[in-house]
């Protein structure tokens, strides 16, 4: 007959030899933990200092810590079932901090949670609820890892994960079982020791492999770079990016050891999902492997045994990995850092990449066309030249000035601006913002382009800018800061959504799917504005992956200029997904997405949805004569 007792059983008396045995085992356990943990800590601390790291603003750090670590918000939101299971394990661990301390203290008669007192009892009941949820959760996670086996957890089964799951399960079950036996029962003693031995066995396993995230990831989340995909400045004359071990900073090393190998980054990576070599998880684990073998002061190149140059240059910098990472790893600065190391030292040789760099060293635009083409476009369409009297400087960008589709988008935006009576002008001369070379790691060229443009904008006394290209917006607003103070800039979706009331809905309503550009969504947090503009022309439907989970078009990170991809084309995969929504219109908010999908949809043949930019949807409702 099983009966439930109001308090968990606590053995009443321990012998001296038991106390001695516990003390020896506890010292051994802590020693075993420290023996494994201290070299890791040493490698992190001996890494180079991050030159630009600031704890301020500390409020944001505390908020992120509370939300992402304590509330497990990202863990749950991005993978609800396993996320919740993990959250219960985590919360149970938090609750068990006191329980376990008390558990060990009872050995010396120094228990501080009184099971008979109201507070103590309440705490034990609370812990019991978490223990139950945790036991169920860890069993579920065990089944997922060893029976369901999702691809992104990796092909090799990790026996340590099984062991950890077993230890956690025993901890919870032994705690719960204590509610079913009286204090005086000899079973209470046995249960106490089982629980204690499990606890002491658990500790040394933590620093081994991915379970280190228990200790490190809260710190990693707290010590983030401060904003999404932030590329740190290079420090001094000998810093060329991540070339060798000596270039790994404390943040990078900390992140490398924090990886929990959950594979969310891999699951969402456009390169990995289209059969390419790049696997963001393996990049991080590669750095960990490097640190374990060579240490943080080594001169061994980082691209070599542990990470391949080919993989690093397959990244579209879409940031899906970084957005998904539950332990605060910032993949994009790492990948761009490795590219910087290769490009700034001239180690990267690529036919198309070299052409892009030379086109921008000698010319003004990434497409390698003559600036006369831009002049003719401006002249033919009588675009006003910015002279300081207008409100906005309309930044054309390479795509808006040279690409046929980009030009269409600009001209439709211009129709809307004229309709609204907004004054604007374009610069006589504009150079590429440097976005593709920034993401490819060419700091020299990026600096030249940024400085030249900042100069031109200052000379023209530009205060406010608007652009159809999220890459231009991001690069101007964030990346140029390293070299000066850029004027305020916004994406046209933000501008248009503020003027919705003055725009007329189109007559002919269509079914529209909006594709979130990476540099507008994840990079700028703009999701609703373009949708509100697109809704002018019809009924919105959502793609299976949308908003912050949007799937890249394949153009970012300079890849639009690098020629044919290996494996399936990212643009084809995404275009197929958008077309499968049954929408008649695919609306994009980025000229690069537009050009990628234009080719992908053309390959699908007839019956493919129409491809437009949201500016074109906003212009649909305007009277055709257009001119103001």
């Amino acid at each position: 007959m099983i009966s439930l007792y109001p308090t968990p059983a606590e053995p009443q008396h321990f012998s001296i030899s038991e106390e001695l045995l516990f003390a020896i085992l506890a010292v051994l356990s802590i020693y075993a933990f420290w023996r494994r943990f201290s070299p890791i800590l040493d490698r992190i601390l001996k890494s180079k200092k991050d030159p630009d790291f600031h704890l301020k603003p500390i409020g944001k750090r505390i908020r992120d810590f509370l939300w992402e670590v304590l509330c497990q918000a990202k863990v749950i939101r991005q993978r609800p079932l396993p996320g919740l299971a993990h959250a219960f394990v985590f919360w149970a661990f938090c609750a068990f901090l006191l329980v376990s301390l008390n558990h060990c203290a009872t050995l010396f008669g120094a228990g501080f949670l009184n099971p008979a007192g109201d507070l103590g009892r309440l705490y034990f009941y609370l812990a019991a609820i978490f223990a139950l949820a945790c036991a169920i959760g860890i069993a579920g996670l065990f089944a997922r890892r060893f029976l369901v086996r999702p691809r992104w957890l990796g092909e090799k089964l990790s026996w340590e994960s099984g062991l950890i799951a077993l230890l956690i399960f025993i901890l919870m079950v032994t705690y719960l079982a204590a509610f079913f036996i009286p204090d005086t029962s000899p079973a209470a003693h046995a249960l106490w020791w089982t629980h204690t031995l499990t606890l002491l066995a658990f500790l040394p396993v933590i620093p081994h492999t991915k379970h280190l995230h228990l200790v490190l990831s809260p710190v990693t989340v707290f010590l983030s770079r401060g904003s999404f995909s932030r590329i740190p400045p290079l420090a001094g004359d000998e810093d060329f990016g991540l070339v060798a071990g000596g270039d790994l900073t404390q943040i990078v090393s900390l992140q490398a050891y924090s990886c929990v190998e959950c594979g969310r980054c891999t699951e969402h990576c456009p390169a990995n999902n289209t059969g390419k070599l790049l696997n963001p998880k393996e990049i991080v684990l590669g750095l960990r492997g490097y640190l374990n073998e060579y240490g943080p002061a080594s001169e061994q190149p980082l691209l070599g045994k542990y990470n391949a140059q080919e993989a690093v240059f397959q990244c579209t910098t879409c940031g899906a990995c970084e957005f998904q990472c539950p332990v605060g790893i910032e993949h994009v600065p790492i990948l761009v850092g490795l590219r910087r190391g290769a490009v700034n030292t001239g180690a990267w040789e690529d036919e198309h990449g070299g052409k892009l760099f030379l086109a921008l060293e000698r010319g003004s635009n990434a497409l390698g066309l003559s600036t006369a083409e831009r002049d003719r476009f401006i002249e033919k369409n009588a675009l006003p030249i910015f002279d300081g009297s207008q409100e906005y400087c309309l930044w054309l960008g390479c795509m808006g000035a040279y690409d046929p589709k980009g030009r269409e988008i600009v001209l439709d935006l211009v129709r809307v601006l004229n309709h609204l009576g907004t004054s604007y002008g374009v610069l006589r001369k504009e150079k590429c913002t440097g976005d593709p070379v920034r993401r490819l790691g060419n700091d020299l060229l990026f600096q030249q382009l940024a400085e030249s443009n900042l100069d031109a904008l200052a000379q023209n006394k530009v205060k406010k800018m608007i652009s159809i290209c999220p890459h231009c917006v991001r690069t101007i607003q964030e990346d140029w800061k390293e070299y000066g103070q850029p004027p305020a800039i916004e994406h046209h979706s933000e501008f248009l959504s503020r003027h919705l009331s003055q725009l007329q809905p189109a007559q002919n309503k269509q079914k529209i799917v909006f594709h979130d550009p990476c540099y507008l969504g994840r990079y700028r947090n703009v999701y609703d504005e373009p949708r509100s503009v697109a809704a002018l022309a019809g009924q919105l439907v959502e793609a299976p992956r949308s908003r912050e989970r949007s799937f890249c078009c394949g153009a970012g990170g300079g890849l639009a200029f690098l020629g044919e991809e290996t494996g399936e084309r990212v643009s084809h995969k995404r275009a197929a997904e958008l077309a499968a929504t049954g929408a008649e219109v695919i609306a994009a908010g980025c000229p690069f997405c537009n050009t990628m999908f234009r080719d992908a949809l053309a390959a699908r043949g007839d019956g493919a949805p129409q491809l437009v930019d949201i500016a074109q949807l906003a212009a649909r409702g305007l009277p055709r004569s257009g001119a103001s």
Binding site: L234, D237, E238, F240, V343, N344, T345, G346, E351, G354, F357, L358, E361, R362, G363, S364, S370, T371, A372, N442, D443, L444, L445
Partner: protein
Amino acid sequence: MKILVAIKQVPERDAPVRIGASGKWIEEADLQFALNEPDAYALEEALQLKDKHGGEVVAVSAGPERVGSTLREALAKGADRAIHIVCDDLGERDALGVARLLAGAIKPEDPDLVLTGLQSEDLGHGQTGVIVAELLGLPHATLILHVEKTETGIKAKREMEEGWFQFIETSTPAVLTMQSGGNKLRYATLMGIKRAKTKEMRQIAAAELGADATPTAVLESIVLPQKKKSTQMLSGSPKEAAAALVEKLKAEARVL
């Protein structure tokens, strides 16, 4: 192998050129300048020869202070040192005058090979390299795409018309003028620029070289190309359009 590469700084390709007040040269005030493209290929070939066989690459250029930036670019791409012949009147010297300056600076270096672009993008005489060879009394060849080192000298691939190539061999020292497009150019790197700061850049005043600046050919005036072509679209049925075309060919173009 010691290779001297003679390079020129020219207005950027897309630069909006205007004719200066004298009518004899362009207004330089607002222009951006860059490395002459065929010279970039000459430099690349020199650097590739150095990568293969070792030795030294020295960049030499004549012109005002601004030329320093182009020489630094050459150092950043891998040249070991640079010689800047400082002269503010480059535009007034003819090809012979410029070649005298270059030859004067090159001679004491006693190089194994002198490479330069086959012509400049601004004046396009295509003479300077050849005259330098004559002044130095060295064998020379033009329109070279590739250079290979041989036991006794060099073997060069020369571009001919209609896709034909000629292979020539010569002893060294020699002067070659390089055609564009033979190699993939390397991009400038941050490391290259930083390393270039510590490399030697020697300035020589044009007067020190004692070269005669009196031009044998004088530039009288320059003009911008006039836009003459205009496109007309002929509308109507094919029959009408054809009739209109014949009419225009007869009356306006007067070719029928």
